[in-house]
């Protein structure tokens, strides 16, 4: 379980996670009901244990907490509903010799959805989150703002109050990334990767995406000279982590590199739980290091 994308929110140092396991248990995932479209709730990060075993809804290593939000979505494609509705409408017209009115159409559609929902496939979904109590940050494994906000809402429901706000940079992130690409000194430990996206600030909004190439040379200079600005930039932290930092402050393609993973391979573990535990510990430690590098340079605001 390594996170792939990180959407970050900051919360005040006063937020207490003391009895969080109990609170997560109270807002655990319940199976989606036959007439519900979806359900959300906390699930044990290590997965469900065998019957009778007590499962933990959070996992903590030092000052990092691992949470998992599960969900069940019923798949009811609108194309299927509309197709069935057309058949029902045609049936109504043949039987009554007139077209149904708006109210009748809505009623027929509601009846159809009620009929189809219990038979719809249920798709399980899962989003993991890392709560860093040192930096007071929650990192959610998604690049979608909507999914990340849903996770924060879920944590808020569990804790009663969780005044977390999306990460706030007090510098112009796009300008900072453009400067790094143009040759400004990078913070200690960071180096350029091999991917970037540049956007023209003019009305055309032209976008250039470069992948798998060294981020220097005449081609890059030409784009910078024409005024294009970096919107995403691949970076590496030592030889431990590679990631793509966006001007929206979302960290994408977060990947632990050989320098970090070799620590994992050198230890002996025979069960899956120990393996996941070791992976989480490693990821939490690398995230902690990365955040400590990014926080001062991006002037990330504290939440109070």
């Amino acid at each position: 379980m390594f996170f792939r994308n990180l959407t970050l929110f900051r919360f005040p140092a006063s937020v207490s996670f003391a009895d969080i396991d109990e609170r997560l248990r109270e807002t655990a995932l319940k199976p989606v009901g036959p007439l519900e479209l979806s359900s959300r709730g906390f699930i044990p990060p290590f997965g469900n244990a065998a019957e009778g075993d007590d499962v933990a809804y959070m996992h903590q290593i030092e000052r990092s907490i691992w949470l998992a939000i599960g969900g069940e979505d019923r798949l009811l494609p609108s194309a299927v509903v509309n197709d069935q509705l057309q058949k029902k409408l045609a049936e109504f017209e043949t039987r009554n010799g007139r077209k149904p009115g708006g109210k009748m159409r809505r009623q027929l559609k509601d009846e159809l959805v009620t009929d189809l929902l219990p038979r719809a496939f249920v798709r399980p979904v899962r989003t993991d989150a890392l709560v860093d109590l040192k930096h007071h940050v929650i990192a959610i494994d998604t690049s979608s703002k909507k999914s990340a906000e849903a996770v924060v809402s879920q944590v808020r429901e569990a804790l009663g109050s969780f005044p977390a706000l999306p990460l706030n940079a007090e510098v112009a992130t796009g300008t900072l990334l453009t400067g790094w690409l143009a040759g400004d000194a990078l913070p200690a430990g960071l180096s350029l990767g091999e991917e970037c996206e540049l956007r023209d600030p003019g009305d055309s909004g032209a976008v250039v995406k470069l992948q798998g190439m060294e981020l220097s040379g005449e081609e890059i200079e030409t784009h910078l000279e024409s005024g294009k600005q970096v919107t995403r930039l691949a970076l590496k932290l030592d030889d431990h982590v590679s990631f793509v930092l966006g001007d929206d402050l979302v960290i994408r393609k977060f990947k632990l590199l050989d320098g970090a993973v070799e620590q994992l391979e050198s230890s002996d573990r025979d069960d899956i739980r120990a393996e996941l535990d070791a992976r989480f510990a490693l990821m939490a430690a690398e995230f902690d290091r990365l955040f400590a590098v990014l926080e001062p340079v991006l002037k990330l605001s504290k939440a109070g």
């Binding site: 706030n168 112009a172 300008t175 400067g179 910078l224 005024g227 605001s301």
Partner: protein
């Protein structure tokens, strides 16, 4: 509130008193109840209700051409100067005018140091220079918000899901049902107490989604000088928005 429908119509040509013709942008708006001729920092425009005929609108505009000319002339006197790379010598920020210095740089960027704005410029792209200034203003606004927010968010029944800074045409701020607070970027050009009042105003909508006396009591408790700030916006608001539009 439902989203209003808008439809762009072909521009109307109006004959001015001196014989010249003026191209008047024209659109239909579902909430318009009568034909409206208006002039602001974005220029003149004609708004039509959904069912009004274009011919009637043309006649209406022509009948009010004297008024239209007077308004355009008034606005031209106050029109802010556009950003000119390498030339603009001062820029507004937080209710003040700060000296601006231009140098050649690796990228287009603006930094604030010792009360002076240092403008690094690369290449000849006008849009890149304007974008750099816009990004600078946004970062400054975010720094202000970071300083003010902790004072207020703890006591709210729910938190804003996101705060977005953007250029808003007439409003200063808004709160969406999803909890997203939008604030006008030109607030960073206003005096800080006025910017903070708009933030408080929008945050108080998380308590009361109306402008009832109960809502204003919440505002009063957090920002006792809100009336003074509202008067400031009535006097300076249009100029602030026009300034941001001209610069970025």
């Amino acid at each position: 509130m439902t989203v209003a429908d808008r439809e762009d119509l072909p521009d109307i040509m109006v004959r001015l008193g001196d014989g010249r013709t003026l191209q008047l942008p024209c659109k239909r708006h579902s909430r318009a109840r009568r034909i409206k001729l208006s002039v602001d920092e974005r220029g003149p425009r004609l708004t039509l209700p959904m069912r009004a005929s274009v011919r009637t609108a043309e006649r209406f505009a022509q009948e009010h051409v004297a008024w239209l000319e007077a308004q355009i002339a008034n606005l031209a006197v106050d029109a802010p100067e556009a950003l000119r790379a390498g030339v603009t010598a001062s820029l507004p920020l937080r209710g003040e005018w700060l000296p601006a210095r231009w140098i050649a740089g690796r990228v287009n960027r603006v930094t604030l140091a010792d009360g002076e704005l240092l403008f690094e410029q690369r290449g000849n792209s006008d849009s890149a220079v304007r974008r750099a200034l816009r990004d600078f203003y946004e970062a400054q606004a975010r720094a202000d918000l970071a300083a003010w927010l902790p004072k207020y968010v703890g006591a709210l029944p729910r938190q804003p899901s996101r705060i977005v800074l953007r250029r808003m045409s007439s409003q200063w701020g808004s709160l969406a049902p999803s909890g997203v607070v939008s604030l006008d970027l030109s607030l960073v050009l206003a005096r800080p107490s006025a910017f903070e009042y708009v933030l408080v105003h929008e945050l108080c909508h998380l308590i009361r989604a109306d402008h009832s006396p109960a809502f204003w009591r919440e505002v009063q408790a957090r920002c006792p000088h809100w009336r003074r700030e509202r008067t400031y916006f009535h006097a300076e608001g249009r100029a602030l928005k026009a300034r941001l539009r001209a610069l970025t």
